[in-house]
Amino acid sequence: MVTNQKGALAVLAEPTRLAIFELLADGPRAVGELADCLPVTRPAVSQHLKVLKAARLVVDEQQGTRRYYALDPEGIEEIRAYFDRFWKYALSSFKAAVEDKEKGRR
């Protein structure tokens, strides 16, 4: 299997961005809440969020006076679809193997 380090992984190679991403895995947060958990300034967090958003890793939403950031659900859907395809393929391969074996026993 070819390894692939491009795209989102390159974006997440930066430790602060990865830390932000992991904080958002627990649920949506505002910039200030993220900055409170990290050893960087608020503008720095905003800058990182911009990069994460451009990579389609996070989405944002205005809630009253605050803007909240969350993991991009479409990203999860891509992963889901990927495994769905894989398991359909793998299970049909399993069926063929186990039924072949049974035929051999009869």
């Binding site: 070819v2 769905d84 398991w87 391969s93």
Partner: protein, 162 residues
């Protein structure tokens, strides 16, 4: 605040013409007989796949040069009814050593009659793979990655699904 409602689970099932004991045995210890051959992350040529049949055991690939890739860990093992493994592969196609960033697969075997078994598979906690999903998507689309035949198999599975 709106909650995140992402479905981080994939469920699939299939009915095979085999008694439950055989279905379980082929799925686990016989994994090398059916696991899609192109889906290995070992650098070396594959010699065998091993499913250690116990809690705490590993599922691993062994290369012809003796190298090993332990890509899953058995966390429940109840033959012939069910097992659960932790999928220790990150989205960068490397073994993931941080258990918080791994997903989980449960497979259940349900006897339909003496020689028919329903196999239900659930791959869950996929959101833990969140970071880097694009890399995985690129892997799917790469020429050496997952072939077009996936789609063909998927449509065949639709016919066979019960």
């Amino acid at each position: 605040m709106t909650e995140q409602t992402v479905d981080a689970v994939v469920s699939n099932s299939i009915v095979v013409r085999a008694p439950i004991d055989d279905a379980f045995a082929v799925f686990t210890e016989g994994i090398g007989s059916w696991w899609p051959a192109e889906h290995h992350i070992l650098q070396a040529e594959l010699a065998e796949m091993v499913f250690e049949p116990r809690v705490g055991g590993h599922v691993y690939d062994r290369g012809t040069d003796g190298s090993e890739c332990r890509w899953a860990r058995v966390i429940a093992y109840e033959p012939p009814h069910r097992f659960v493994i932790r999928w220790d592969i990150g989205l960068n196609w490397q073994v993931e050593t941080d258990p918080d960033r791994t997903s989980e697969i449960e497979v259940r075997f349900i006897s339909q009659d003496i020689d028919r078994t329903r196999v239900e598979l659930e791959h869950r906690n996929l959101d833990r793979h969140g970071p880097g999903w694009e890399a995985m998507r690129d892997g799917v689309n790469s020429p050496d990655g997952w072939p077009l035949s996936l789609r063909r198999f998927a449509s065949r599975m639709e016919d066979e699904k019960s």
